[in-house]
């Protein structure tokens, strides 16, 4: 799945040949958020590289996921399992399903490879989640390490720092 193959809904599709610039990165994040909001989790998974990791730390400024717990820390293997479970008709914590709405903003490129084919993008997000008569709001900072490869833009890793990462939470099921 490349960015160009996504249904962009009127936005400019990124070309697989374009070197990663701010506009391409921002479009990519918006499309990623759209896949998540639409519950197209298989397509979301396809954005990740074969050895990608996805990380939601449990502490502010957490240094690594090895020696400290995380709200979510998935290597590619566990991420595939997480996504497969989301499609299960027996995922009771998603019966009824959550509805989500994400806003992405303040996108900046923090680091870029000299050839422009890899970069770390920082963004801010706000996420509304509605389920069973309750609306929750999450917000924080995302870091994506994006690479431009043969399959278009892909996520080599993604880190999501929630503002309230160390608060008591009810179950977190829909990925950030």
């Amino acid at each position: 799945m490349t960015v160009a193959e996504m249904k962009p809904g009127g936005t400019k599709p990124a070309s697989a040949k374009v070197v990663l610039g701010l506009a391409e990165c921002e479009q990519f994040l918006i499309q990623e958020a759209r896949l998540l909001d639409d519950g197209r989790f298989d397509e979301w998974l396809n954005l990740f590289t074969a050895d990608a990791w996805y990380w939601v730390p449990s502490q502010p400024n957490q240094e690594n996921p090895r020696d400290t717990i995380s709200l979510m820390y998935d290597d590619r293997r566990l991420l595939e399992t997480r996504v497969r479970r989301l499609a299960s008709p027996r995922i009771y914590s998603q019966e009824p399903r959550s509805r989500t709405s994400r806003m992405i903003g303040n996108v900046t490129i923090e680091e870029a490879a000299p050839d422009g084919k890899a970069c770390t993008v920082r963004s801010k997000f706000q996420l509304l989640e509605y389920r069973r008569e309750t609306q929750r709001i999450f917000g924080g900072t995302c870091y994506h390490h994006l690479i431009q490869g043969e399959k278009g833009i892909q996520i080599a890793w993604k880190r999501v720092d929630l503002v309230n990462c160390d608060a008591p939470h009810e179950g977190l099921v829909v990925p950030f």
């Binding site: 996921p65 717990i69 590619r76 293997r77 497969r84 995922i91 914590s93 009810e170």
Partner: protein, 459 residues
């Protein structure tokens, strides 16, 4: 308001069933805080969290904010986190190190053992005010005691010692502690705080329930069983996937291979439902082999084997503690309201074990206790659904009778279920619940005759 009579409370627990009110009635909830959390030994922290004089940890019993402190003499103190002046909470941090406690309101300061050290404007107080009165202090919880590093507090001035209260469950703590090659444990890796809309009792009632995983966790079992082992893993996903797959063990496996044991005062443990190939020992795993060698080097071959052959899954200490030795997990259930609960989950580092053992424990914590876990989130959903279902009075009585006719005495003074899917451990908790709650006519011992035995039929 007339307090609920003991007779009325006793009528809520009958052989093999309990009335829905025990989970929904605010008056009963308040009584539980007073009579159970106000007298039982309650886990408040681990000594590794307050290693040095001046170290403190915010903790609680029921809803009461407390401080667990290592005082200047090295003794452990359990103080109400409350200023003797205007009642303000004195310490606002989760943990830290200090030489004294100072209230930010009017500057009253306290020694680490809670005694008043100084207060401004003392000349302004009336003559009968005595700053040396031991009650003019951050007051101590009447009793605090430690079992091999695990610290408990009790609001009851008198009562059984901590060891008597724990009884045979001390062997579960031993099982956890003795797995450290160097013999010491350290709380490490952060704390999960997960919350749910449901009664606090539902949590422990689920932790030794061998009959629920196959249903509640179907989505993660299926997803893990279908997962290709060839997909790239950095090792962290491996533990998670093994655990989820094993949750799919068949009922016949549970009933033939796993046991459930219960003991006085409401305690219980479930046998392990994994085998060497599937989860913990994983004898073909180089990390475990390294750990095994460290154990043998420190404890000798025979003793190491004895320790590692102990196979227990969750050990529940009534009313609100559950821990698990094989991946060094500990959970504390805190009641907030009759249908709002928060659970704090901790991981221990085994002294002298390979680093990777601790990293495996962290991976396990993420999948079993994590707020974003593929497993726990379905348990939290169940607690919420029970709470919603109990709004209905359609079914006044909840069944806790599975295995009811198979309870057997255990050689260590407890009772074991006929097999692991027995609900004996829930009945055992309600026997204890009655002992605390129906105080007008206390029933001696941890096991009343009300709900446990099959000899009597239902009224």
């Amino acid at each position: 308001m007339t307090p609920i009579a003991g007779e009325q409370i006793r009528s809520l627990v009958q052989p093999g069933r309990v009335h829905r009110r025990v989970y929904t009635d605010e008056e009963i909830f308040d009584l539980e805080l007073e009579r159970i959390f106000g007298s039982a030994w309650i886990y408040v922290g681990h000594e590794s969290q307050i290693k040095l004089p001046g170290d403190f940890l915010a903790t609680r019993i029921g809803r009461k904010p407390l401080l667990l402190v290592r005082d200047s003499d090295g003794n452990i103190q359990l103080l109400h986190n409350q200023c003797a002046h205007r009642g303000s909470m004195v310490v606002a941090s989760d943990c830290g190190h200090t030489s004294e406690f100072r209230c930010c309101y009017h500057g009253w300061t306290y020694h680490l053992d809670g005694r008043l050290k100084a207060a401004p404007l003392l000349h302004g107080y009336p003559s009968h005010f005595d700053p040396k009165n031991s009650d003019t202090a951050m007051r101590r919880v009447p009793r605090v005691a430690s079992y091999r590093g695990f610290v408990f507090g009790s609001h009851a001035k008198d009562g059984p010692s901590l060891e008597d209260f724990l009884g045979y469950m001390t062997t579960s703590f031993d099982d956890l502690i003795d797995r450290a090659p160097d013999g010491d444990l350290e709380v490490a890796g952060g704390v999960f705080k997960h919350t749910y809309r449901g009664n606090w009792k539902l949590y422990l009632e689920n932790l030794c329930d061998a009959a629920h995983p196959l249903f509640v966790h179907q989505s993660s079992i299926d997803a893990a069983q279908q997962q290709s082992d060839d997909t790239y893993s950095d090792g962290s996903g491996e533990i998670a996937i093994r655990q989820m797959r094993q949750n799919g063990a068949s009922y016949s496996f549970w009933e033939a291979n796993v046991g459930i044991w219960t003991y006085p005062n409401g305690h219980s443990f479930l046998g392990d439902y994994h085998d060497d190939a599937k989860l913990v020992a994983a004898l073909n795993d180089p990390v475990f082999r390294e750990y095994h060698a460290a154990m043998e080097a420190k404890k000798g071959k025979q003793q190491a084997k004895k320790i590692l052959d102990t196979r227990r899954w969750n050990s529940n200490v009534y009313p609100n503690l559950s821990f698990m030795s094989q991946f060094q997990q500990l959970r504390v259930v805190h009641p907030l309201t009759v249908n709002q609960t928060v659970v704090h989950a901790y991981t221990f580092r085994l002294g002298g074990a390979p680093t990777r053992m601790f990293e495996n424990a962290i991976s396990f914590a993420n999948i079993v206790n994590g707020t974003g876990s593929l497993v726990l989130t379905d348990d939290l959903e169940i607690y919420n659904r029970i709470d919603l279902g109990l709004l209905s009075a359609g079914s006044e009585w909840l069944e806790i009778g599975r295995g009811y006719e198979g309870d057997q005495p255990d050689e260590h003074g407890g009772w074991r279920g006929k097999n692991s899917t027995s609900e004996i451990y829930i009945r055992n908790m309600f026997d204890t619940w009655l002992n605390y709650m129906a105080v007008e006519k206390p029933i001696n011992g941890g096991r009343s005759s009300v709900s446990s035995h099959a000899a009597e039929s239902r009224p």
